[in-house]
Symmetry: C2
Subunit: 334 residues, 2 copies
DNA sequence: CTGAAAGCGCTAACAG
DNA sequence: CTGTTAGCGCTTTCAG
């Protein structure tokens, strides 16, 4: 259980360096030597101490995933899917994933930086950050490799991968328009996240392109939350002419809105058509099944790792920016 | 960015050891010295290199979570919830979580062991292992601290935390009986997992207790999978007298069974009542909302970490065994 | 209460 | 192709 490289070296009558080379598979080794050392390694059941290796080589082969902490974090379908993609790609490249839940507070702007400074990680993926998160700036100043997922930063060039949110939102609105709906409302997500902003932007643009007026009283803010969307969306149906369609910036809100509409005695999609965004698992289970703009969340995770590793290996230079395409998924709600 | 403890020591005119003590908060330090050193640490923005610390102290403050690898791993609601609990408790105890997806193969029985031998981890949580997984034995032989979640091992005493599966299944069957149903079928889960076995056992016991015959043609095996359950459950409804109720060993299968029943032109719960197990997120969204036996998945994760840390600190001795209570959640399907 | 010495187990860099 | 020499940055252990 506590065999070290030195013991293998002694047993094989070679230097530690030779054993190290055999293990690394790099440098030049005589076939015969390699075989002999290998045998002893197997016989003794030796496995290198990765901590020691990391200290000496300054490479831990560990990547961190920073996620804003909340209870039952992984019940957030977006986070779960992105992380699945992250694990998949990391595995393929023989990297390990360390989970770093972080509680964002006003008084400490260096949390990400401090995690980087532990030297435990070769790079970081940041998920669901806010557009004004000062932690990012502190980190970026150091040159430590990291990639933002779900964040197209405006203030400063950063590596990121995100979906084509503006385009996706336009697709949604155009779809509703194609169904003959003209009174199209919008339930927007959080304005602290770039995709919340972008999807609202896409809605506005599409409306303009289609020659429809953008009425501010047809826009409510749901903060990417089912309950909030349920509560806030009531306003849309109280005025005079009620909307005949609603575009929601994510599926959780869409589910809340559908519930609101049904509770008001109206029908989806008969009276009001609803389109969501993301294509979370629940979109399929809900009644009526949700028509939505699918974003490739697993792929987002995979791509973020691919970019990060290129950055670490110096194969690409910052800033790397990538936008993945979205896709309309037609179901029953619109 | 590359400040070391030695530099702090020099600037403060003390030995490295003193700085180390200040950092650790342990040993005796003069108040004045501590204050001075602290100031310098803050001023210089020093953060200890955790790799070096781990190597020297033989403690990484990292715990591993072993999960059988599959695509989109975290879309499995059970895994997601357990992991959420794990993260929560680990955070509270200042431990970090390393994800270790593992592909179980026949030819390597030492995968868990090999992960332990990297010395990267202070302990391990094993999720969703099979009852006959030989990797566990190899690991147990070494005394390395680990806790099984979702696994009540029969063959050998291990630390574990699981739900009261037998009791939960009995509650489900009794509930159906209480609704006046007498023809109660069972869709069992995988027989390779102890909870699949236990829930079937609970079904059998409850039937016997209620004076109902246990008919083997009323039991099908769905492998904890929605599609499989949909396919296999057809058999239940083909014979003569069809069941008026079905107990399913998990919610994914229950969803498949409900779909099967509806596709046959029957109604849930009118013609056939259905009870699931787990209370996954989708149970709420599905139509009709699923009546189910809730197991405390997040709590399972939290408890596993608590046990593991006690083990590591020597506060408890193996084997620690804990069973958490389940609870009937009445919704619309039964 | 503080310090000195001695590693933890491995790899980088250079020599041969 | 292989070995030697120096660490990586911290903690342990034992003195003082």
């Amino acid at each position: 259980m506590k065999i070290t490289l030195a013991e293998i070296a002694k047993k094989a009558n070679v230097s530690k360096m030779t054993v190290s080379r055999v293990l690394g598979g790099k440098g030049p080794i005589a076939v015969e030597t390699r075989r002999r050392v290998m045998r002893i390694i197997d016989d003794m059941g030796y496995h290198p101490n990765l901590i020691a290796r990391s200290l000496a080589s300054r490479r831990s082969m560990i990547l961190g995933v920073i996620i804003p902490w909340k209870e039952q974090l992984l019940l957030d379908n977006y986070v779960a899917q992105v992380l699945s993609g992250v694990m998949d790609s990391a595995r393929n490249h023989h990297y390990r994933i360390l989970l770093c839940p972080v509680e964002i507070t006003r008084d400490d702007e260096k949390q990400y930086l401090n995690i980087a400074r532990t030297r435990l990680l070769d790079g970081m993926i940041l998920v669901q950050t806010k557009t004004d998160d000062p932690n990012i700036d502190a980190l970026a100043d150091t040159g430590f490799p990291f990639v933002l997922v779900n964040q197209r930063r405006y203030s400063r060039p950063c590596n990121f991968v995100d979906s084509q949110n503006i385009k996706g939102a336009r697709t949604a609105v155009r779809h509703l328009h194609g169904l003959g709906r003209r009174e199209i409302a919008c339930v927007a997500g959080s304005m602290d996240e770039s995709n919340g902003r972008d999807r609202l932007l896409g809605y506005r643009r599409a409306m303009k392109e289609l020659g429809l007026p953008v009425r501010e009283d047809r826009i409510v803010y749901g903060d990417f939350d089912q309950e909030t969307a349920y509560r806030e969306s009531l306003r849309l149906f109280e005025g005079g002419r009620r909307p005949t369609a609603v575009f929601c910036s994510d599926d959780y809100m869409a589910i809340g809105v559908v519930k609101r509409i049904q509770d008001l005695g109206l029908r989806v999609p008969g009276d009001v058509a609803v389109v969501g965004f993301d294509d979370i698992e629940a979109a399929l289970y809900v009644q009526p099944a949700l028509t939505t703009i699918r974003q490739p969340m697993v792929e987002l995770g995979r791509t973020s790792i691919d970019i990060l590793l290129d950055l670490i290996d110096g194969k690409q230079k910052s800033p790397v920016r990538r936008l993945l395409p979205t896709e309309l998924v037609r179901r029953d709600s619109a």
